[in-house]
Every structure is written in structure tokens, then in C-alpha cells.
């Protein structure tokens, strides 16, 4: 929304720093680590905001002093020792409120960025888990099928007892062997996989709890994720 305004001035804004994206380097070429770049950009943005805020304060202060001098001149003095006027008080109040507002804006933006990061991570982790599970399921299915096929073949190839009836019976036995082996292999894999998944969820929970503790420590202990 600030674009039109800033375009005229052609100046770098904190928003620009926050929203900048770089194209990925071509395959086989070396590039910077994305996380490092992002962390650095965050620092740059913070610094820029601080500088801009300081600039606001200084501008207001200069403006206040200028008026004071003019007021002093008008009242016949040489600009020194002019009393703190009503207008001064108002400009002061405006400055204090403006700073408080900028602080509030910053807190809201930080909380939003934090919640953005959390949900984004959760989303990509979810996609990973889903695709991993899908691949694993495919693999298990394939293996179970091939093992069961082998078992069935083995039963079929067993030496025949009586020609006609026995042929039917051995076909049935072969199918039974196929199904039994298939089920067995599938169950075993599923159990192993589910256990592995539970372990990784526990790990994930632990690391997230750690991250939240750390974040609330950084925010001076006043931050609760529920407040987002």
C-alpha cells in the first residue's frame, strides 16, 4: 500500500527489506544460505525501523526548538530562556503517543511474523510427513505383494498328491499362503512405521516447546503463544 508513495521517493523501506525475494541460483552454482540471508535481512529491517523512528523524533525535536526560538524572537528576547509553551506540550504529547504507537505496531508485527513462521513450518512439516508416509506405503505394498507371490508360487510348485482334486486344493492353499504372507508383511511394516512416526512427533513436540520457551524468554517472559 505504501508503494506509490515510496516510488516517488525511490527510498528503501523496512517493508521492502521484509518482502524482498531473490531468485535461486542456477543448479550447480554456489549461493548464500537462505536462512543466514533471512536472519540478516531481519536485522537490517529492525535497524532501519529504529533509524526511521529516531529520525521522526529528531525532526519533531528540531521543529519544536525552531518554534521556540521564533516565539522567543517575537517576544523580543534573543531566543534564550523561552518558557515551555502550550504548543510545546502538545507536540511533546504527540511525539510520546507516536512512539508508543510505533512500539505497539512493532509488537503486533513481531507476533504476526512469529505465528506466520510457526504455521508455515507446521504446514511444510505436515506435507513432508504425508509424502513420506505415502512413499512408505507404496514400498510396503510392493514388497508384500512380491513376497506373497513367491509364497503362492512355492505352494503351487509343491509335489502333487492326487491329480484332479489336489490341483484345486493346492490352488486354494496357494492363495491362502499369498494372503497370509501379504497380511503379515504389511502389519509388521505398518507397526514399525507407526512407532517411528510417534517417536518423531514426540521429538517435534519437545523441540517446539523448547522454541516457545526461548521465544517467551526473549520477549521478557510476557509472551504466550495463545495471545497470537
Amino acid at each position: 500500500m505504501t508503494i506509490a508513495w515510496q516510488d516517488e521517493q525511490k527510498r528503501l523501506t523496512p517493508d521492502d527489506v521484509q518482502s524482498v525475494t531473490f531468485p535461486l541460483s542456477r543448479l550447480g552454482r554456489r549461493g548464500f544460505d537462505e536462512d543466514h540471508v533471512r536472519v540478516f535481512l531481519q536485522e537490517v529491517e529492525r535497524e532501519l525501523v529504529t533509524l526511521l523512528n529516531e529520525k521522526v523524533s529528531l525532526f519533531n525535536e528540531v521543529e519544536r526548538l525552531r518554534r521556540r526560538i521564533i516565539a522567543g524572537m517575537k517576544s523580543g528576547g534573543n531566543g534564550d530562556g523561552v518558557l515551555f509553551g502550550r504548543e510545546d506540550a502538545h507536540v511533546h504529547a504527540v511525539r510520546i503517543l507516536s512512539n508508543a504507537q510505533l512500539t505497539a505496531d512493532r509488537y503486533v508485527a513481531d507476533a504476526q511474523a512469529y505465528s506466520h513462521r510457526l504455521t508455515e513450518e507446521a504446514r511444510s512439516r505436515r506435507d513432508e510427513i504425508l509424502s513420506e508416509a505415502q512413499q512408505h506405503a507404496d514400498m510396503v505394498l510392493e514388497e508384500a505383494q512380491s513376497r506373497a507371490r513367491e509364497a503362492a508360487l512355492a505352494t503351487l510348485n509343491a509335489p502333487p498328491v492326487a491329480p484332479q482334486m489336489e490341483a484345486d486344493r493346492s490352488a486354494l492353499r496357494a492363495e491362502l499362503a499369498y494372503l497370509r504372507t501379504f497380511g503379515e508383511v504389511y502389519r509388521t511394516h505398518l507397526r514399525a512405521y507407526t512407532e517411528g512416526m510417534l517417536r518423531s512427533i514426540t521429538e517435534w513436540e519437545r523441540s517446539e516447546a523448547g522454541a516457545i520457551e526461548q521465544a517467551s524468554a526473549e520477549a521478557g517472559g510476557t509472551f504466550r503463544p495463545g495471545e497470537l
Partner: protein, 371 residues
């Protein structure tokens, strides 16, 4: 009013960037603390809105007709925020104070008169439009949440009963404010044609870090009340063209198109409708069952599910414009597009270059209306 002098003055104070709206709001809130209640906690977006709107007004200050339409919309829009005539005086005082502060030595009685005159005209148009609007509809509607049903990992369907009855055209949107996020309004399309019981459905996609979507999805339950603004938007059905219809919906962009489909199902005109429902994965095609049911009931409706990043999906796959253009020739169709900005822009461009007249392509445009 000397338009040139005014523009020049605005350009000079605009050099101070964010400091200008910051000073303006602080001045306003110190003089009239009760006005602060009308704004959200973070004022960042608000300051940007003010600057953009002010820039727009000043740039057109010598073209009264164009400006009037914009200001009338702005005046009506401000009703849901609780703005009344008295506030306009307060704003005028603080605006003049701000301009004076940043003009420094350039502030003269003539310039002050220019700003005061210009503001009086602006406020007058806004107030008159708001007063006229008052006669026909409330400033906002109270909405009771009847149910909130999760349809996909990140998409919920909200059923709401507005009070009083809220009349709208299928395809239009209303701004929603959640009590958990006071003074933050977001537009959502109504996902149904007007119903006898007056209830509205909204398809809410959880945006990463999105303050309002998160509140609507997780913090609100049946029985809670939200506030709804008046219906806005130009994405509505042209029922007189006689042409067949192409609809392309990306994710929750389905909502306005579903509302139009319901409108067609209930009305006398039955053009052939070809609706592409697109999402990244099969799971994200959250309302496909209902759409397939509609298609089974009406032979004039064809629903084609499309996924853009799901190699396992047994159906149309690929980029949305590619799939749409592959499926047929749409030069004689009215096209209605809703969804992610990028998808809408690309599909629209491809349709135009393939020969569909620009006037037959309908997309949402809120114009200058602020949520």
C-alpha cells in the same frame, strides 16, 4: 481552491513519509481520545490507507466528477467503522494541524484557506453519501455463527445468520470483523445464493499468520457473534448476455462462483456452465462433493476438478491456465475467474490472447473500497 498550490504543498509534506500520518493520528487521538476506539491496535496498515487515499484525493482535486464517485464510496465505507458527521470536523482539525506542522515556513494563511476549503468539500461529499446510505441500510450487521465446519486441513466453512436480513447479489463479498480481532475487517465472498432463511456461508482459508482467518477458524464457535459490513464487489452474473459460461475457481475462489451457480440453478436462464475447480492437491478440493452433487442434478453444469501439484491425482493436472486452455475454445463464453491473484491474472491474459473479448471476462475488483 488553488489546485496547483495544494498539490505542491502535499508533495512537500509527503517527503516526510510515515511521520505525517503518525503525527496526524497522534494529534487526533490526543484531542479526541474516544476516536481511538474506532481503530485497531496496530495502526501501520491504517496509516498506509490514509496516505494512499489522501494522495488519490489530492491528485484528482481539480477533477471534481471523478473524485466525487470515489469520495461517495469512501463515505459509505466509513459507516461500518462507526464514523459520524462530528468525526469529520475532528479529522479536519487534525489534518490542518498536521499539514501546518510539516509545512514549516511554507505555511501561509492562503495555503491554510486552500486546505480548509478542499477538506470542507471532501467531507461534505462523504457525509452526504453516508447520510443517503443510512436511509437504506444499517452501518453493519450482527452475524450469529451457526456452525463452523472444517472441510480441509486449512479450510473451514462458516454458516452465519445476519440480523437484520442482508440482501446481496450472488458473487458479492462482505467485510467481516471478529470480536477476537476488533477493528480488523477482511472481505469474504458469500458462498451461496440468497436463501429464504437469510443465512450466509463463508469459505475461510487459514492464512499463515493471518490474524482474522485464524480467529474465525479457531477462536470462534457456534453461537458467537461477528460483525458484517455491507455487500460489495462487481463479480456478479450477467444474466442478459445469452452466452455460455466458463468459471475458473482457485481454492476458496470457489465461493462466489458457487453462489452464482446456485443462482442459475434457481433461475429461468440455463446457459451451459463449465466450472474448473482448482487446488494444489486433491485434499484441498474441499467442496468437491457438493459441487459434484450439483453437477449430477443439473445437466447444464460440468464440474472439472484440477490439481496443480498432486502427481497422484486421477484427473486434470497442471497449471490452471494450461488446463483451461487445453479443454476447449472459450471465445464465445462469459468467463468468471476467482482465486489467487496470480492465477486470475494469468488465466485472464491467456483467455484474452486466445480471443475472448476483454468485456466478457469478469474478475473481482473492490476498487477503492477498504475492508
Amino acid at each position: 481552491v488553488d489546485a496547483l498550490r495544494l498539490k505542491d504543498s502535499f508533495a512537500r509534506i509527503a517527503m516526510h513519509g510515515d511521520e505525517v500520518p503518525l503525527f496526524f493520528y497522534s494529534d487526533l487521538f490526543i484531542k479526541h481520545p474516544e476516536v481511538r476506539e474506532m481503530f485497531p491496535i496496530s495502526m501501520k496498515a491504517q496509516r498506509d490507507h490514509l496516505v494512499v487515499a489522501l494522495g488519490q484525493i489530492i491528485s484528482q482535486v481539480d477533477r471534481a466528477d471523478e473524485l466525487a464517485a470515489f469520495l461517495e464510496g469512501l463515505g459509505r465505507d466509513h459507516r461500518k467503522f462507526g464514523a459520524v458527521a462530528e468525526h469529520y470536523d475532528n479529522v479536519g482539525d487534525s489534518l490542518l494541524e498536521t499539514v501546518a506542522h510539516f509545512s514549516g515556513d511554507a505555511w501561509t494563511p492562503e495555503l491554510a484557506a486552500d486546505w480548509l476549503d478542499a477538506y470542507s468539500v471532501i467531507a461534505g461529499i462523504m457525509i452526504r453519501a453516508a447520510t443517503k446510505d443510512e436511509a437504506t441500510r444499517p452501518a453493519s450487521w450482527r452475524g450469529t455463527i451457526l456452525s463452523c465446519e472444517r472441510k480441509a486441513f486449512d479450510i473451514s466453512v462458516l454458516r452465519v445468520r445476519p440480523e437484520p436480513r442482508l440482501d446481496f447479489l450472488p458473487g458479492q463479498s462482505v467485510a467481516i470483523e471478529s470480536p477476537a480481532r476488533p477493528r480488523l475487517w477482511r472481505y469474504y465472498s458469500v458462498a451461496n445464493a440468497p436463501r429464504e432463511d437469510g443465512t450466509l456461508e463463508f469459505h475461510v482459508r487459514l492464512i499463515d499468520g493471518g490474524a482474522v482467518s485464524m480467529a474465525l477458524t479457531y477462536l470462534q464457535t457456534a453461537g458467537d457473534t461477528i460483525r458484517l459490513g455491507p455487500p460489495v464487489g462487481v463479480l456478479t452474473l450477467d444474466t442478459t448476455s445469452g452466452r455460455d459460461i466458463l468459471m475458473v475457481a482457485g481454492s476458496t475462489g470457489l465461493a462466489p462462483l458457487k453462489a452464482m451457480t446456485e443462482q442459475l440453478a434457481a433461475g429461468p436462464e440455463r446457459p451451459k456452465v463449465h466450472l474448473f475447480f482448482c487446488a494444489r492437491t486433491a485434499e484441498a478440493l474441499y467442496d468437491l462433493t457438493a459441487m459434484n452433487k450439483l453437477a449430477a442434478e443439473h445437466d447444464w453444469l460440468t464440474v472439472v476438478p484440477v490439481t496443480t501439484a498432486d502427481p497422484r491425482f486421477d484427473g486434470e493436472r497442471g497449471s490452471v491456465p494450461d488446463v483451461v486452455m487445453r479443454a476447449g475454445s472459450w471465445t464465445g463464453h462469459d468467463a468468471y475467474l476467482a482465486g489467487p491473484t496470480e492465477m486470475v491474472r494469468e488465466t485472464s491474459a491467456r483467455l484474452i490472447s486466445a480471443g475472448t473479448p476483454r468485456g466478457q471476462i469478469h474478475v473481482e475488483d473492490f476498487g477503492w473500497s477498504e475492508p
